[in-house]
Symmetry: C2
Subunit: 712 residues, 2 copies
Amino acid sequence: TSSAVAKGVSMPWKTRTSHPLDPLSATEIKVAVATVRAAGATPEERDSMRFIEVVLVEPEKHVIAMADAYFFPPFQPSLLPRVKGRPVIPSKLPPRQARLIVYSKKSNETSIWVVEFLEIHATTRGGHHRGKVISSKVIPDVQPPMDAVEYAECEAVVKDYPPFREAMKRRGIEDMDLVMVDAWCVGYHSEADAPRRRLAKPLIFCRTESDCPMENGYARPVEGIHVLVDMQNMVLIEFEDKKFVPLPPADPLRNYTPGETRGGVDRSDVKPLLIIQPEGPSFRVKGHYVEWQKWSFRIGFTPREGLVIHSVAYVDGSRGHRSVAQRLSFVEMVVPYGDPNEPHYRKNAFDAGEDGLGKNAHSLKKGCDCLGYIKYFDSHFTNFTGGVETIENCVCLHEEDHGMLWKHQDWRTGLAEVRRSRRLTVSFICTVANYEYGFYWHFYQDGKIEAEVRLTGILSVGALLPGEVRKYGTTIAPGLYAPVHQHFFVARMDMAVDCKPGEALNQVVELNIKVEEPGKDNVHNNAFYAEEKVLKSELQAMRDCSPLTARHWIVRNTRTVNRTGQLTGYKLVPGSNCLPLAGPEAKFLRRAAFLKHNLWVTPYAHNEMFPGGEFPNQNPRAGEGLGSWVKQNRSLEEADVVLWYVFGLTHIPRLEDWPVMPVEHLGFMLMPHGFFNCSPAVDVPPNTHESDIKETNGVVAKPVQNGLIAKL
Amino acid sequence: TSSAVAKGVSMPWKTRTSHPLDPLSATEIKVAVATVRAAGATPEERDSMRFIEVVLVEPEKHVIAMADAYFFPPFQPSLLPRVKGRPVIPSKLPPRQARLIVYSKKSNETSIWVVEFLEIHATTRGGHHRGKVISSKVIPDVQPPMDAVEYAECEAVVKDYPPFREAMKRRGIEDMDLVMVDAWCVGYHSEADAPRRRLAKPLIFCRTESDCPMENGYARPVEGIHVLVDMQNMVLIEFEDKKFVPLPPADPLRNYTPGETRGGVDRSDVKPLLIIQPEGPSFRVKGHYVEWQKWSFRIGFTPREGLVIHSVAYVDGSRGHRSVAQRLSFVEMVVPYGDPNEPHYRKNAFDAGEDGLGKNAHSLKKGCDCLGYIKYFDSHFTNFTGGVETIENCVCLHEEDHGMLWKHQDWRTGLAEVRRSRRLTVSFICTVANYEYGFYWHFYQDGKIEAEVRLTGILSVGALLPGEVRKYGTTIAPGLYAPVHQHFFVARMDMAVDCKPGEALNQVVELNIKVEEPGKDNVHNNAFYAEEKVLKSELQAMRDCSPLTARHWIVRNTRTVNRTGQLTGYKLVPGSNCLPLAGPEAKFLRRAAFLKHNLWVTPYAHNEMFPGGEFPNQNPRAGEGLGSWVKQNRSLEEADVVLWYVFGLTHIPRLEDWPVMPVEHLGFMLMPHGFFNCSPAVDVPPNTHESDIKETNGVVAKPVQNGLIAKL
Ligand SMILES: [Co+2]
Ligand SMILES: [Co+2]
């Protein structure tokens, strides 16, 4: 195929260097920003442009199919619908496009721009690129995500405000270097929060030492001061020292740096544990395309979602690359708090839509964040003023041993077959203010895909009056109080079970166990069975977990069967889960209607990406988001199915979560269910056991290449 | 302390060689069997003795305290209750005892014997031991667990039975070497199953090739033949060729051996992954005593439960060894099937009480079952006729890297602290007929203890008539049918949160989230809070999981508080769970009343070990087991608390579970909740990251000792 393409077919630079799904390069971001800025009508307008987000416009699915058929691996022409006779080989791919969210500091207007990349000097590498504005429009009544620059400016402005200094002085603090001002989005609680103003309501904290950058400043919340900041004009518009709450005493257990720097002693008996892959990893990476153990997919990254997994397929013998999903990502999360008092009732952060999971990703370090042979991917973003910033080592790809894959020992002969499980893990970690979230997609040799969130970081705490106890949380240190809260995550899964890109041949079946009636066919009363029900339309497909009926959901291809004649499918198996514990009329639920069910299903629509709408801050935008889309009640009987799985945990803080919370795990599983004809893991080869490999110790004694070793 | 003991205190051999909780040695088993056999009245009686189980009599808790205070690590005199003035140092520990379950092949009687070990030649090592019968009694109306010898004999008897051969011939099978007869316990479905006879109802399978010991014979179930075997006299007592069901065709996908031997091709791209601990493991083992990362415990093993974890404690700075639990194990499991037809309705195996999880444990292999630096423990058992058998490498102890332990990155400075999690894993794996179960206890650096079961092995399948489809299961290959079923496990946890052995100062608190009423103190309707309720007595403590209220249970010490004044505690956090799906009147539930709730709590009683009674087979024994004990409704307000956590999964077979099911994970967590004053993981030291350790590659280049390396 690739040679057919090579023969005299002209291809623009983009198709040879960037797959249509590759995230924007640093150069593309630069070009996009420059193009939009140049389109500003006046110097003043150009100056006031702030760049919230510059992101690839993902092309229509048939373009992806074309790219994967003829221009990029897996070079799979069968991905394209057949035209009579033979397939038509396209001569080129359409140009790439960027989408920009621009905030005007001057007019408080948010606009969305699309820029198309043109190509000059197609044949010379590094030939310079140009952009063309394809469209631009102002989006009324929204506030786009906040930027780190705004957070920093807001802190400075508050700390410079004389009445604030006065209030801090009343609390015994004169050194403003100790003070931390964490701007929080205001959300939407009343019309006063409406987006005609860009608002932030900071939380105040106060360190105890000015020369200790790693002191945990979140350990001293400053309560009783009401501050509201106009983030457009960067001025305080409301201020009141409402209530005097003394600062909590400095907690001797607040810090988390090593040993003496914390005021403690570290363990000395953690012996090193090394993971060595002397022959390198089992994966192959070409650009953003990854192949591993019959799996293949592409890695994407956006400022809002962070990691995106595209075009997930599994090579199944003579059936070739079989598609499982078109696009997997975490599109929103919400953390509502359970205390009705100031300032906690306002804490219901939408960390994707108000801040950006990808934008706040960490640069990861071998041996610390990741162990084994690591392949990292960098990510590029625009900063607030339009410069390009790069997070190096932002996405981590590596293999892990995962214990027993399967085993059987014959009791007659004592003969056993056992296989070890290897998994491929793709992940990133981000910080949103005090909390950390790690997002992981694990691929397994038995066809499973696991989505996992790891929660860690510092609790969001408040101060108590001396002697005060509150039922809405836990006193975790003297005077220090951590309110109860929930963490919700939304995984958006554009499924494509045995579908070519864009094919609409999936449906979702809900399965519940039914207890059989007693009677002559059930005399021992033991009988139960699985009942299947197709979720026929969007309103039927708003579903909750039900562990007692073993409820799960199978995405089935409507036309493809396995060897026993069952439709091929992948099932979504919930892990532990919950629903919002706030009252049904809670204010934040107007913006987060999508939390009301654990599962939603929609037919694919290009612009339905974010369940709380693209701009969830300061506006319930009742006409946007999952809760509104499904009111169309579109048919799902045979569709290009998108699953929205909403999962969460209720966090009742423990003393042991302080000062940094040990990781909590939460997630769910996608499992083949009648997708394969038998276990796809049956062909994993056995390991030689210990006594067989004593001779191979020599392998380890060889000099080990850099990057093959990571030390714990 | 140990020197104080050494000074002129006489100690018998047992105390210096065996801790009171150490499993019986091979010698002790030999002595116990010989002692009981010698007590038989006649040669005939002695000959007919069959030894079902020989197990240590675990001593009273004060003996354990005495041993741990003065004779064995942790050498902790504070474990003993203080006597006025100074503690009394005991001069010796009481002798060890064995408990034997003996089945008389002649009289069909089951008896329980206790043998005490006497000591001769205390001072010479290897001085010979003697036993003395302390007690013996016949237990009426029970049938003890089946033995592998009986299974083998039963198979031979059935295969020799001419009408059986005739029936097989009707099905086209004349070569009896192909035939597999798996005896199953009959359970109790009617008075015909009563224990006056020792009964088994075999399932029949038939291989296709006689010279292939690793062929998966479970792939051809033989249906329609009713066989009932008297296992005492080893004769067929019922036989009927009831219904002609043709053998299913040989499934080409039935086998699971490597590559060509299976008729397939194995993957060739799984590159080796080595786990190297160049400085050895971080644990220390002395006999059965294990210390790792502030944790300490003792390893035990019984034929019925398999692995037992005794005396779990955590070293917490100046507070020293703080006890968490006295004894942890899996005491029963049940696998009920959902098909009301023969033979499936009879399948509701009690794999601990009818067979024995420990007795059926595997001998594990480095590199295959376990990776990294492994410490194995052997286990000794009696076989049916009283000989000693040893399963080498029966329990596996090793460390695992477990990803991120905790992390926080300051958004102002970009500075991050991250720690990697290490866990200590103790486990064993067993086969019961077609299924495999791995049981794991994981200890973490943040104070968590995780209990995990891994399920794998071969589905229990039936044959279908040509064209037949059954709603009670999945057709997994042509003519082959796997009925839906559930797997339930019971973890018994004798807790001791901040208790000395035997102290009765714990209580169990149930926590549920309550949604706050709307009103003037909850104007945004966001409020919710955790409500605690002490489970005051046994009948109040029969509880089910409730994910929607975030329900969990905290075992609290009633007298010890943490730094904020909250009672210290450990909480049980459920994983995914379910309840039996059989009708409430199901026959097998009479024997398994304990499945009716996810949590039970009892005050410790020495003889309350097995939730379905000690002999659950062939008798509902309504007066025994958890369901009856709790009717006493004993107080739990301040008690020596035992938790019984019942958890399960509903298994709807997939084609992908065939021929060997990829591992499913199931479990729960014990987590400190206000037990510590802050995160116990804050003192885990950071890793040096990759660039810092390039020089240490030399470590790996050194010759690696045997046992330090295991290859994947
Ligand atoms: Co939390
Ligand atoms: Co099963």
